[in-house]
């Protein structure tokens, strides 16, 4: 745990940080008003109103280098980021993952990197934290369901790890696998999904500088519900590509099957790049709601990272390779 002290974060004067209570003020006000109003109504019906406190309260020692992303949009709060998660291994209810995952064991943890590489290795979590300098990356996360957040991740480029194991020229794709442990992840017992969760990238996507393995957020170790202890983050792709709790990284010759392409290949493609012009087969992807905002925003091509990643898809028809 002490390894997290090594996170490089530029010291921010405490006067520069917007206090969380101001940040939350408006929301809190609405919430209180609502609780009072609805509470009175329900109390009149004899219903016992319990105070709804979030599972994860906000720690006092959060750190981040900036209060906004590069487009000037404010970060989502720690409370929002850690209480609203898609993690089907625990539950399909986003608000309940934090509670269901709170006993998840992340230590000891090993990540096996193997396949078409010259130097296959197994890294303990401590090795990853020691070997690869951890840095903050503030990224937008766009979920395929049509919502988004701005998250200050802590992590390191996947390219650094891959260089370490030396991919062979036949290793054209990278396959990732989440932990398979139905004792800890109860929903993995269900047979309607092809467990364990798998994802894949083309090697050049994996080597792109935006691609990171995240180990923390807001300067703290990743909470279980956000994919502890180590997860992928691909800010220009829909959130489901960024798999959590990684135990295996394999270099393979062909495009690997992924969790969602297996479940519904006509709906979730291998590439899954954020693209406002290519609708999901059932709903439009032209707009999204930033968590914490009421209106909708127009979705940006590649989630606003076109400058960094558009080259990867030169000459490809993205309506076919969705």
């Amino acid at each position: 745990m002490t390894d997290y002290l090594k996170y490089k974060s530029v010291p921010v004067k405490s006067s520069e940080i917007t206090p969380e209570h101001l940040f939350l003020n408006r929301r809190q006000f609405l919430k209180t008003m609502g609780t009072v109003g609805a509470g009175a109504l329900l109390a009149a019906c004899g219903v016992n109103v319990t105070d709804e406190t979030p599972i994860v309260s906000t720690p006092s020692d959060l750190t981040t280098n900036s209060q906004t992303d590069e487009l000037g949009d404010p970060l989502n709060t720690y409370e929002q980021i850690t209480n609203y998660n898609n993690y089907y291994e625990f539950t399909t209810l986003k608000e309940d993952v934090a509670e269901k995952a709170q006993d998840f064991q992340t230590s000891p943890w090993e990540v096996k990197v193997y396949g078409l590489v010259n130097k296959p290795q197994t890294f303990g979590l401590e090795d990853l934290l020691k070997k690869f300098p951890q840095e903050e990356r503030i990224y937008r996360l766009r979920c395929v369901e049509g919502w988004s957040m701005v998250i200050p991740w802590v992590g390191f480029p996947l390219s650094a790890l891959l260089k370490e194991v030396e991919p062979q020229s036949s290793g054209k794709y990278v396959r990732f696998e989440t932990l398979l442990d139905s004792e800890q992840m109860p929903k993995q017992r269900g047979s309607l999904f092809p467990w364990p969760y798998q994802e894949g990238l083309r090697l050049d996507e994996a080597m792109n500088d935006l691609t990171i393995l995240a180990t923390g957020l807001y300067g703290k170790p990743l909470p279980a519900q956000n994919g502890a202890p180590v997860r992928l983050v691909l800010p220009w792709k829909y959130g489901f590509k960024s798999l959590k709790a990684i135990v295996k990284i394999e270099l393979v010759p062909d495009e690997p099957e992924t969790f969602w392409t297996t479940v519904a290949s006509n709906e979730y493609g291998f590439y899954a790049n954020v693209n406002p012009d290519v609708a999901h087969p059932r709903w439009s992807q032209a707009s999204e709601r930033r968590i914490g905002e009421l209106g909708r925003r127009t979705t940006l091509m590649f989630n606003g990272y076109a400058e960094q990643v558009a080259d990867l898809y030169q000459g490809m028809d993205l309506s076919i390779h969705y």
Partner: protein
């Protein structure tokens, strides 16, 4: 002249208005994404009321529970009410009546369109559910209101398209849509004349036998007391 209160109908009213209050309460108290959560909840409640409304007639024909018929219209109207709330959250709160975005959301893909078709049917049925229309439409009233047999499957399709998974390939988050699909299918099958006739026939034979000399033991669970 005093009318006996219809306790079943009062229960349905209490349930529906209570759920509406809960919906508002849960919206205000959702700290993260209240619009998506409340859209889902209101749609789900509408579907439950629609299925209950469809269950009223078979409950009478199969089990002889005649009081079920007295809440059929009430259940249907509440299904429409929650479907309306569902649509208002989607169009007003979620899309802020932004027509340029809504147009794409509704017409680009069938998901919303199917839901909107079902809502249009429910609206038509709700408006014409009063005595005045019943008289005015005569025989056509019944024909018109059979459209609910189309609305219910459309709503199930709309619902199954909202989850991540593939109902046809039995993959993904599909248990609930399948359960609702099965319920609607059974409730529609129960309306087929041969099924209805057989059920009525069986029931009359059963009640005959039960009213015979052996009927000393407590009422069986299939009895009309539920």
């Amino acid at each position: 002249m005093k009318r006996k209160p219809n306790w079943l109908r009062l229960t349905v009213h209490a349930l529906a208005w209570g759920l509406l209050v809960w919906l508002v309460w849960s919206f205000i108290n959702d700290p993260i994404n209240p619009i998506q959560a409340t859209t889902k909840r209101s749609g789900y409640i509408a579907l439950v009321f629609l299925v209950l409304s469809l269950a009223a007639t078979p409950t009478n024909t199969l089990f002889g529970f005649r009081q079920a018929i007295t809440v059929r219209r009430t259940l249907g109207l509440f299904a429409f009410m929650f479907a309306g709330v569902h649509f208002l959250i989607f169009s007003v709160l979620d899309y802020g009546l932004d027509w340029s975005l809504l147009r794409g959301a509704i017409f680009e893909k069938p998901f919303v369109l199917v839901g909107l078709t079902a809502l249009t049917i429910l609206l038509t049925l709700a408006v014409t559910s009063f005595k005045w229309w019943m008289k005015r439409l005569g025989k056509n009233w019944k024909r018109l209101h059979r459209l609910v047999y189309l609305a219910a499957p459309l709503v199930v399709v709309h619902y199954s398209w909202s989850v991540k998974g593939d109902v046809l390939r039995l993959q993904g988050d599909i248990l609930q849509p399948l359960a609702f699909g099965l319920a609607v299918a059974l409730l529609l099958i129960a309306r087929l004349p041969p099924v209805r006739r057989t059920a009525t026939h069986l029931r009359s034979r059963l009640t005959q036998r039960l009213s015979g000399p052996v009927a000393e033991s407590p009422q069986p669970v299939e009895g009309p007391n539920r």
